[in-house]
Symmetry: C2
Subunit: 432 residues, 2 copies
């Protein structure tokens, strides 16, 4: 049974605060193992990758090659059926056109006293994209990570993907081809992250690593951070659905289940102003889970982390939604548009009854890499901005230096940084 | 003696690679201590802050109060002399007008098939600003961190600053007042970071923590990351000056020294195409350091980490500069403008002979919080974007769902996520 909270009950604030503080992840302590793996890849290069793949993936890379060949990629792409290929192409097209609008513009200007200033954006030169193996090897995730990088102008996109027993997901290769991934290597785990950060004989290092992964991958990304950039470390997925009683309970139940089927640590939350509707949704969740292939996962997630919160009216849901700061927020009621600007903290907002969150996972055009675990209070989903970097430009002539230089000298002296003061003062009094 | 490298020598690439790999920081292992401090602040709140301040700052907060009063701030601001106050005001005005141009615009649009999409930016609700105590307590740093937050629309800016023996830097308080900091607490170290992240009886928690600090502060920021956002962990400062022989060696020497005086781990690098000029600069550095108050620090930095790289022509400096990816890059030669677009990796570029880096530290208008240790290859200096977050908006009606929904169903099934498929399919076939 999911948690039930009632806004009108006197203990609500206490219960809701406790609910917000719930941790859904057990962080495995794999740091010592990961440190050793990274060290070995740094010193032994390809030989370490070959050895780890034998051990973890039961695959001899010395035989099949570390790099996935162009022929393999072509063959995989050709094996995709027409319907799936067209769906991937639609997703790619829509993700591209949405992200193309995110490209920041350079700003060069001259201020009233003649100082030239600028903000300039340049693409990261090379990006590594980690793709998990096995059942979590998702072609949609390849598109969501690679397309913004490509839009940003990243020249080298290097994909790594573990291939347990040598098995590669052909859809992942097809998505990589579609997105314009430059190189693909069949390595995974902390060793793949180390190879991307430090390079080996076969893999030239990148400047930034993105993409989801297990505890070993996450720990490796944390360790190499600084040497390269990394994206956020994503936690288990979550959805908050705010729905009134006019919804079909089966639709809302399906949305809650879609999130819950990801992972036993996923979280689905319903806020509604209609107690009878809440009951109907709960009944529907049970009915639908029973016939779902991943029903056991969904049932456990719903039981352990699911929640239904009753509010006296939808207005009362707004501050709760802002505190939950959900990765995905569905507003499933008639005047949803009027509520969008009241929501301050959310990774993505899905507006109205006909925008199930799943559309955003695949073909909506927006990115599905979004902040989890309440981090939408301070962080953003993946955008083109994650693949560019900002450089400030400043240019003064002698006149401008005469005008604002003395203030710099004053402040430097006030901070007891006389060397700073001298570097300006020497240009103001060239004789001394 | 600083390192000397010559591009034309056969061992240059080996020597330059080794130079790039030099670590300038000894990372103190303070993590266990910091873990305990954070835990105590979480459980004991204000009492822990009071206890730690007695121990580390020799100050009884129970007596003087954790919060700095409005009267104290007013008194400090009133004590600042006119020249310094005007310099602070000029810096504030110029930083504000530059950063105001960085505010991202929301984007709402309807695509050709009628799907409504959007990118929306909202300010982080509350930000904590760490300001170091003692000699590293810089009013300029208060402006550089607080102004972008204020421009972004952050409602609560909470400053923490350690006050060893009860001493507060009046200029820091004056800068905080000028920048519109909302609250100031006289606590520092890991305990202040913990208080900002988790809150105490006196300090309401924030959503993001920014600002420089020592090893304890950096370790605490890493530990609370996830609960709150953090900015980059800045390393020692660095400058790369590319200069031809037509410069006054004394000017360039002053710029190298300005960086070196920060810290014994700071780094100053000169690239020049003129060997005689290199010698003249080196002589000037020695002469100027000898009469500098922080000369000993500067001398040690210059000796241990300084470098002079000779190139056959300035064009050869470009790829080197892109590999160094310096925090600060000065282009001190006649046609510097023509080189700006060739530089891909740099935190900030200072163009021409009359733009010493120090101008950017104080009054240029651009931010002085910039990526160090080659991280300009993948990260940016502080901008308004660090204080806002992105929310995706998506809205479909029944027609749009009919058009792109089937592709989502296809991809969900291809990923074996039947619950995902069902959440779209149930809306396409309402009969069930």
């Amino acid at each position: 049974m999911p948690l039930r909270l009632d806004f009108t009950q006197p203990d609500f604030e206490t219960a809701f605060s406790a609910f917000l503080a719930t941790k859904r992840e057990v962080s495995e302590d794999v740091d010592a193992i990961v440190r050793d793996i990274i060290e070995r890849v740094r010193t032994e290069g390809d030989a370490a990758l070959i050895d780890y793949s034998k051990k973890f993936d039961r695959l001899d890379l010395a035989e099949v090659g570390i790099k996935v060949t162009a022929q393999e990629v072509e063959a995989a792409a050709a094996s995709v059926d027409d319907e799936t290929r067209q769906a991937l192409e639609l997703a790619h097209k829509r993700i591209w056109s949405h992200h193309a609008r995110q490209m920041p513009e350079d700003d060069r200007y001259i201020d009233p006293i003649g100082v030239e200033l600028g903000s300039r954006w340049t693409a990261v030169e090379a990006v590594g994209l980690y793709v998990p193996g096995g059942t979590a090897s998702y072609p949609s995730s390849v598109l969501m990570n690679a397309v913004p990088a490509k839009v940003a102008g990243v020249e080298r996109i290097v994909m790594v993907v573990p291939t347990p027993d040598g098995v590669l997901n052909p859809l992942v290769l097809a998505a990589a081809k579609l997105a314009g991934v430059s190189e693909i290597y069949r390595v995974g785990g902390a060793q793949a992250v180390a190879a991307l950060a430090y390079g080996t004989e076969t893999i030239t290092p990148v400047a930034k690593i993105v993409g989801p992964g297990n505890a070993f991958v996450a720990a490796a990304k944390r360790r190499v951070f600084g040497t390269v950039g990394i994206d956020m470390i994503a936690g288990p997925s979550e959805v908050l659905v705010i729905a009134d009683g006019a919804n079909d309970p089966a639709w809302i139940a399906a949305d809650l289940i879609a999130q819950a089927e990801h992972d036993t640590a996923a979280q689905s939350i319903l806020i509604t102003d209609d107690a009878a509707f809440a009951d109907a949704v709960e009944k529907e969740v049970s009915r639908q889970i029973a016939i779902l292939p991943r029903g056991e996962t969904a049932a456990q997630s719903w039981r352990d982390y699911g929640a239904i919160i009753l509010v006296p009216d939808l207005e009362a849901a707004v501050p709760l939604a802002n505190r939950i700061a959900a990765e995905h927020l569905e507003l499933a009621f008639e005047d949803a548009d009027a509520y969008v600007d009241k929501i301050r903290n959310a990774g993505a907002i899905f507006i109205g009854r006909h925008t199930p969150e799943v559309i955003g996972d695949y073909v909506g055009g927006s990115n599905h890499v979004l902040p989890t675990a309440r981090s939408a209070r301070f962080s953003s989903g993946l955008t083109v901005l994650d693949f560019v970097k900002h450089t400030s430009l400043l240019k003064l002539g002698p006149d401008q230096l005469r005008q604002i230089g003395p203030a710099a000298v004053t402040l430097a002296k006030a901070e007891n940084l006389d060397g700073h003061a001298a570097s300006v003062a020497i240009r103001l009094n060239p004789e001394g």
